[in-house]
């Protein structure tokens, strides 16, 4: 019985406009407009989900390098042996001596491009991997083969004379193996150095911001400033400057500062600093606006001086929040400073971009791991500190 009280007929009476809207031409136009907007958006942003699969092989080197970043290395002992080869008339050139005890013999010393050639090496370290190079007249090296020496330290390879300019060529066999203890790789040293630069970039940017934002925030607090027209104007100007500066991305600021003071960490410090002044200034101001007037009244009532009132009733109410906001901002700035290098602001982003451009995937992987680690650590540390402070 109860169900019958709400009849379907009742609905048009309750929503008289709805059905007519759906049928109206305005609704059709709106639908068409939405279709157009998203259709254009799809095209202009070149969305093509298929590429995620068809081009998967392009990302594979980076992803697989993440598993084995360039962190540690050992010194390499190298044995080199050389043998000359001519693709034309002339005297066989004299070469720098081979490593003592090793020698390289070619089945022939003259020939043409495409000729088969047997390469024999001996006197190398047994059971060790090596590379056979072909060096042309202008010193360019082509990798020919990888090989492994046998138990007597010998190897035999058959190669074809490659197509490469010049008449005088050198065939080079290089056998190398690691010796000595593991030590940090060159990449790890560079990445560590740049990571430290990055963290300090964030620190300096944040510090500059705090020093400027603390006094400014009092000018941007409505409860302090809006008591007379002059104060209210200052308050409005301060807040407007905060809002404008806050809306400009640090990356764009860094681009501008890189033009101004040159590419490098200083540009990054300035960019993070200016953006953080605005961001912190706004947060600080709001904190000052939200203080409880009760304790101020109570401390005043004890006969305290104005300075004592600030010390005992105002500061305890704002300092913990100020510290929390500052750490939060530093946290953001560390993350920001890792990418600010992309636009010339210094820090680790700069070398990460270099590694990627040079297709040095393992080195890039080292940088990516360093960023992940440091950001996660800072995140955790700031959470712990903030919890303690508030």
């Amino acid at each position: 019985m109860r169900n019958q009280t709400v009849t379907p007929k009742a609905i048009p009476h309750i929503h008289p406009g709805r059905r007519s809207l759906i049928r109206s031409w305005q609704f059709l136009m709106l639908l068409l407009a939405i279709l157009l907007i998203y259709g254009y958006g799809w095209r202009v942003t070149q969305i093509n989900m298929g590429e995620l699969f068809t081009k998967a092989h392009l990302i594979r080197p980076l992803l697989s390098s993440l598993v084995r970043p360039d962190l540690l290395t050992r010194d390499q002992e190298v044995q080199v042996a050389r043998a000359p080869f001519l693709t034309g008339e002339g005297e066989l050139p004299t070469l720098p001596p081979s490593t003592e005890g090793t020698s390289l013999n070619l089945s022939r010393t003259r020939g043409r491009i495409g000729d088969r050639l047997v390469v024999r090496g001996q006197g190398f370290r047994p059971n060790t991997e090596g590379v056979l190079w072909w060096e042309n007249q202008i010193g360019q090296r082509l990798p020919m083969r990888r090989f492994k020496t046998d138990e007597q330290g010998r190897f035999t390879l058959e190669i074809a004379v490659p197509q490469t300019p010049g008449v005088e060529h050198v065939v080079i066999a290089e056998v190398s193996w690691p010796v000595g203890p593991l030590k940090p790789s060159e990449t790890l040293k560079i990445v560590t150095e740049r990571m430290i630069e990055t963290v300090f970039l964030a620190l300096m940017g944040t510090t500059i911001a705090v020093v400027v934002a603390v006094p400014l925030s009092f000018l941007g607090a409505r409860n302090l400033m809006a008591r007379n027209p002059v104060g209210f104007t200052i308050y409005l100007i301060t807040r407007t400057v905060f809002n404008i500066a806050r809306s400009i991305e640090p990356l764009i600021m860094a681009t501008v500062f890189a033009v101004w003071v040159g590419i490098g960490p200083f540009a990054g410090v300035l960019a993070l600093g200016v953006h953080s002044i605005a961001a912190l200034g706004k947060l600080y101001s709001e904190q000052i606006e939200s203080i409880d007037p009760g304790p101020i009244e109570a401390v005043m009532a004890t006969g305290a001086t104005p300075l004592q009132v600030v010390r005992y009733a105002v500061i305890p109410q704002i300092v913990p929040q100020f510290i929390a906001f500052t750490i939060y901002r530093w946290d953001i700035n560390v993350r920001m400073s890792t990418v600010i290098g992309f636009v010339g602001g210094g820090g680790i982003g700069f070398i990460l971009m270099q590694y990627i451009n040079l297709l040095q995937w393992r080195q890039a992987a080292t940088a990516v791991w360093a960023i992940t680690l440091v950001v996660a650590l800072m995140d955790y540390a700031s959470a712990v500190i903030r919890e303690k402070v508030i």
Binding site: P295, A301, Y312, P316, P320
Partner: protein, 256 residues
């Protein structure tokens, strides 16, 4: 010239900047050691009256004398010295929530200690001892190092009382000290204030509930729209008077 009473309020008027008339021609005298309860509806001017006495609110006109001193004529420095003798207890306790109970109590002593030391929160040994003594009086010495906001409402108000006691006050102004507390806690807090009064401190205490006013006050001043409409013994407030103070619709609520 006749001798002045301990506290004299003469033709006190307060008009706020927005035009609100909070007090209008209020005059009364209080002798040393009295326990005066001020009652009235919200907005009747109770808080403004108490705050005019230590000039947290500047009176528009009228005069106030405390112990022979014209409060309304004092320069800022003299006013601060006078405020040391007037303890104040607030409805919302007005503690610094993030500071320790001890720091909150010590802040009651700010008017007496040299400014420089107090700015770095350094307190002489005897002041810390005094703070512990006063905390013991209100029964919460064990909470000295707890953060103020960790305490219950009743405990926070006792911290407020201890802070007022640090001033060694001659007069205590209590602005609805129990309005934020439950009935049982209200009585315990008011008993502490009653004890202080027995020791000779004059008390001016505003209260919301007439039943509490009857129980603790030996004299009641009633305000209505910024004017005194009653000043006398609690027993003199009968039904007719009650309606005069609280309006025709009001019914008396008992708080035991």
């Amino acid at each position: 010239m006749e001798k002045l009473a301990f506290l004299e309020v003469e033709h006190l008027t307060k008009v706020y900047e927005d035009g609100t008339k909070a007090l209008e021609d209020v005059s009364f005298k209080v002798e040393r050691g009295e326990f005066v309860v001020i009652i009235g509806l919200s907005g009747s001017g109770k808080s403004t009256l108490l705050r005019c006495i230590n000039r947290l609110v500047e009176p528009t006109s009228g005069k106030i004398y405390l112990d022979g001193v014209e409060v309304t004529a004092l320069a800022p420095d003299e006013l601060r010295r006078l405020r040391r003798q007037i303890g104040m207890i607030f409805q919302q306790f007005n503690l610094v929530k993030r500071a320790s109970v001890l720091t909150n109590v010590l802040s009651g002593r700010l008017g007496y200690v040299p400014s420089i030391w107090s700015l770095v929160n350094y307190w002489p040994r005897e002041e810390v001892q005094r703070a512990f003594l006063n905390l013991e009086r209100v029964g919460i010495a064990d909470k000295a190092y707890t953060r103020a906001d960790q305490l219950s409402g009743g405990q926070q108000q006792r911290v407020g009382i201890a802070r007022a006691l640090m001033q060694e006050p001659k007069l205590i102004l209590a602005d609805e000290p129990v309005s934020a507390l439950d009935p049982a806690t209200s009585h315990s807090v008011l008993k502490y204030i009653e004890d202080l009064n027995r020791e000779g401190i004059t008390v001016l205490c505003s209260l919301h509930f007439l039943s509490l006013a009857r129980r603790y006050g030996r004299r009641i001043i009633a305000l209505k729209a910024g004017r005194i409409v009653f000043d006398g013994h609690p027993e003199e407030i009968d039904d007719r008077r009650f309606r005069e103070i609280y309006g025709e619709e009001a019914v008396e609520v008992e708080i035991r």
